[in-house]
Symmetry: C2
């Protein structure tokens, strides 16, 4: 319990990671309203859209309009996703995206080949090109993202030693190109992580890289996301991705398993009840979750948005 941080920083991914999986296209104006409401509720960083193939992800086809349309709030970073050089170019050209230099790797050889048609070695070999692209845009690369860092439906558990080895290899590539690894994003892409596994992996990484900022991206596929976040906070982790209302779960019965990210409100509730600051107004956030539920047209999995915050009871006493 000793390493619990004083404050936690949440990157809201609902507008991108959440809405991209919805069967219906959420109109641009509604997306903008939701993003602005999230900023107003105190979210310091918001993944507002993506620059990917609009034929592959039609829900995100309005990335340019969304970023251009947002009333920007001072101090809030508006992030985007891109998967290739073209996407990065579009994000830079848009002019409204807070572009962060980030390299991405997947910890499962099978999954990375299926997803990207490249091996882990190929992906490492391509990192210098990405670093050069970012440099050309005046952006320093400081972040490494690791997908499937805990387990993979194709390869089973990912051994912690493998994750550590991948970080070391990517760090070496970065160092060869004058980039310092400062932030590590660990994603539990397929919902394999459990609290003790989180503690073990974070502990190993912290032992080797005590200065590295670790961020977790936790899916709630098996109901462990809040417990995993709490375990991480007990290990001193201060940065999390989260999705308002738990957006990102697939509403089709056949794909119900594709659960969303940890619900932002449920995570914020957890932080506040443990005395950890987030800078977020939980009641306002719950209103955004309800707004998002209206936009997608089906029940969202978040709990606090249904159970309510405790604030109304606390003020009575």
């Amino acid at each position: 319990m000793s390493d619990l941080p004083k404050s936690v920083h949440i990157l809201e991914v609902g507008p991108r990671d959440g809405l991209q999986i919805e069967p219906n296209f959420v109109p641009t104006a509604d997306k903008i309203r939701m993003i602005e409401a999230l900023a107003d509720a105190g979210l310091p960083e918001i993944e507002a859209g993506s620059f990917v193939n609009p034929r592959a992800v039609p829900q995100m086809a309005d990335g340019d309009e969304v970023f251009a349309g947002i009333r920007k709030k001072e101090g809030v970073a508006y992030r985007a996703l891109w998967l290739n050089a073209r996407g990065l170019e579009r994000a830079i050209a848009n002019g409204h995206v807070d572009v962060n230099g980030k390299l991405t790797m997947t910890c499962s050889e099978t999954f990375i080949r299926r997803n990207t048609n490249r091996s882990i070695d190929d992906t490492l070999a391509e990192m210098p090109e990405w670093i050069a692209r970012y440099k050309a845009a005046g952006v320093e690369v400081r972040t490494l993202g690791l997908m499937a860092a805990f387990g993979c439906n194709f390869e089973g558990y990912i051994p912690e030693a493998k994750v550590v080895e991948l970080i070391a290899r990517a760090e070496a590539v970065m160092a060869d190109h004058d980039c310092k690894l400062k932030t590590l994003n660990l994603a539990d892409t397929m919902g394999w992580a459990s609290p003790m596994q989180v503690k073990r992996l974070v502990g190993l990484i912290r032992d080797r890289w005590p200065e590295l900022r670790i961020k977790l991206h936790l899916h709630d596929t098996r109901g462990q996301a809040v417990a995993n976040a709490v375990a991480a906070m007990e290990m001193g982790v201060t940065h999390f991705d989260a999705s308002v209302g738990g957006l990102g779960g697939c509403p089709f019965a056949g794909h119900k398993g594709a659960a969303g990210n940890v619900s932002t409100e449920d995570l914020v509730f957890s932080c506040h009840e443990m005395g950890i600051e987030t800078g977020i107004d939980l009641d306002a956030l719950v209103e955004v979750a309800r707004m998002a539920e209206g936009f997608v047209g089906h029940e969202l999995p978040g709990k606090v948005m249904k159970g309510g915050t405790l604030n109304r009871y606390k003020t009575q006493h």
Copy 2:
């Protein structure tokens, strides 16, 4: 992480605590099928029904038939709920109920008065009568249940010192009547608990009563139930109530906040992934959760029942 137990014992409360809140009456034969399937999946203890006023809780009006109809499995305890002397008499007369001697208290003066029309002092004063009733039936009283042990919508947070004081007072009454307090049930009745609060309260109680078995009953009103259970397990807690599929959530929009217990599958998943034995076949349990979903006719909140277990992936490697 050090006090994680080797095994955890789960009392399944879905057939009673879960089904009693459903708008529809689940037919007796379906209840029996569900209870038998739970026992076959490895649940060692099942709250199978209640002996309460059938006008107040018509969903549980068939308690006698349910208990008489279950094909009993060796080693499984079939529990019931009663709230007054008449209910206990009915449970004893039924002849199929594993009657456990239990005293109940609520940690909030306001809530206990609203719920039972009695004060905390009144409730303590009535304990000797309950002990005598159990004794007359040949049942030893060893268990104390504390409702609203973490917080109350009417009184806010329940101070830990107050919980400790109530335990001490009830223990003294029991001792005066030759009963030894062996098991303490702490219920987070209104979903106030957070992981660090669980650790603090359990720690305080363990310090004063190191031999006492602590059991937690956790509602998932604000998405913290699994995290709270994990926190408890880290403090050495080995006994939990849980509800298959997370049964117990109220499906009416206006009452969505009345979330169910921690989902049994999600808790079992958590245990198994942390190397803690439960004696439960998780895949079989998921099938029961799906069966229960069919009985109640609406989606249940459990996650593993949608995301699936990891067993099918693990066997590939």
